[in-house]
């Protein structure tokens, strides 16, 4: 679908140098972040899984793992994990290579060779059954649950019926709709996990002593007409279509089953997106009512407007308009069919707005403090 050379900084100290390499070598991508050191336990493991998953994503041809040298997330360990996917991986360390400029030169040299190799590959037909499609909604409004999310649900069903995988995520925004998904679980174990992850997410609000509504729905959601988290959740759940829920996976974990899969992520757009892409999603369907620029360094993100006002106002950022459902000129099935066509076109090389605008967002869901 895509064939990027990823310059992967395993530590915030190396992120600027990684960015510099992308300025020097075309065909390379990277991301700025604040993670990678003084992390322990499950939080360490989650960040490690995210780095390794980004590198192993099928949209990445090869990886230059760029570390500082002394950090907890050792570049070499991340590289070894990525190498299991069989793709070219090289390690560059700023401390070992004599500082920033030497590391940039070394990384750029390796990356340039990888880009040359990647450019020789030809596109080959791949069945939809090989697809992992992430689904997401951000900047929701009252139309989300009426137009774009049900249309994504229609596409999710089509992908599942073709033997592929569709990821439902943002656990926060399924609080209040969990019973509907638990009822569709493939077995009791999956149903039990649904209630467990919902309870864990809700408990975080309880522990902080706050009304979750102060952060979610956001002020923009509220201006758009959403009044409560439950209302937002019921609209968000429409993205999951109607097929059985096969599995519930941890953040940034690759699904072991095909079909509809739930990934436990927060509702925060970038953290959710990063988790799904690190979990193997090659493409993401992202609905928005308020409008959003969000994109990924390695996966095309198809941004779907829930209403035509926003689609015309945010034309730079949006790829697809589902607002025709609101106007009554198209049905959910018609918009869903059109969106499925757009999905296949993007998989075959059509660029999304966020790719054209180099919107390379990345953020890891941290589940522990930094030490």
């Amino acid at each position: 679908m895509r064939n990027h050379v990823l310059i992967l900084p395993t530590i915030t100290c190396a992120a600027q140098a990684a960015h510099q390499i992308t300025q020097l070598v075309s065909g390379t991508v990277s991301f700025i972040h604040q993670h990678g050191c003084a992390q322990v336990g499950v939080d360490f493991e989650q960040t490690f899984r995210t780095y390794a998953g980004m590198g192993a994503n099928p949209n990445v041809y090869g990886v230059v793992v760029l570390g500082l040298g002394c950090e907890t997330h050792q570049a070499r360990s991340v590289a070894e994990e990525i190498a299991k996917s069989g793709k070219p991986v090289e390690v560059v360390s700023i401390q070992d290579h004599g500082g920033t400029l030497m590391a940039i030169a070394q990384g750029a040299r390796i990356a340039a060779a990888m880009v040359a190799d990647a450019s020789r590959l030809m596109r080959e037909p791949v069945p939809v059954s090989e697809l992992i499609v992430g689904t997401e909604c951000g900047g929701s409004d009252a139309c989300s649950g009426i137009s774009a999310n049900p249309a994504v649900g229609w596409v999710s069903d089509a992908v599942v019926d073709a033997g592929g995988t569709s990821i439902l995520a943002e656990t926060t925004e399924l609080i209040g709709a969990e019973h509907l998904l638990a009822a569709r679980a493939a077995d009791d174990r999956v149903a039990k996990r649904v209630y467990e992850v919902i309870q864990a997410m809700e408990s975080r609000a309880f522990m902080m002593g706050v009304d979750i509504r102060t952060g979610n729905p956001s002020p923009g959601n509220i201006r758009g007409g959403l009044s409560s988290l439950e209302e937002k959740s019921l609209g968000a759940a429409a993205k999951a279509g109607s097929r059985p829920l096969q599995e519930l996976v941890d953040y940034a974990q690759r699904p072991s089953k095909k079909g509809l899969v739930w990934m436990d992520t927060p509702g925060q757009d970038i953290e959710q997106l990063t988790g799904m892409v690190a979990g193997g999603a090659q493409v993401v369907l992202f609905t928005s009512g308020r409008g959003t620029p969000t994109g990924s360094p390695i996966a095309p993100v198809i941004k779907i407007a829930t209403n035509s006002h926003m689609y015309s106002r945010m034309g730079d950022n949006m790829d697809f308009n589902a607002g025709t459902v609101i106007e009554g000129t198209e049905t959910i099935e018609e918009v869903g069919g059109r969106l499925y066509g757009e999905l296949l076109a993007v998989c075959s090389g059509k660029l999304t707005r966020s790719e054209i605008l180099k919107q390379h967002d990345f953020g890891i869901w941290r589940i522990g403090p930094t030490f």
Binding site: G209, I212, R213, I222, G225
Partner: protein, 109 residues
């Protein structure tokens, strides 16, 4: 999903009511106060005078809702009423509160 269109002073206003059991409908155009609307969803038929301006995407009550009562949309609970709500009134954060993720209420008790 049930939609309805009707005319008021030569301007069409659209609403959607997701399920017949719902207590609210969603405006799909800005609806001025005083507009009389007929909302039909399955066997549920409501004649409602919109009592205050309802912006695009916002909700109004189609039936009387008592303080403390659950408010339904999509046939599911989206929160509870914090005051009595008359048909045609705007339903939003001023008279609807979520009941999930309420760590603030736990902290008070």
């Amino acid at each position: 999903m049930c939609t309805a269109t009707w005319t008021n002073v030569q301007k069409a206003h659209k609403v959607v009511m997701m399920k017949p059991v719902d207590s609210v409908a969603v405006a799909l155009t800005d609806i001025p106060a005083g507009t009389r609307v007929r909302v039909v969803c399955g066997e549920s038929v409501f004649e409602v005078e919109v009592l205050e301006p309802i912006d695009f995407g916002h909700k109004f009550a189609v039936r009387p809702i008592a303080a403390g009562e659950s408010i339904l949309k999509y046939g599911e609970v989206i929160g509870r009423a914090t005051s009595d709500i008359r048909p045609g009134q705007h339903v939003h954060i001023h008279n609807l509160e979520g009941v999930r993720g309420r760590g603030d209420q736990l902290a008070k008790s």
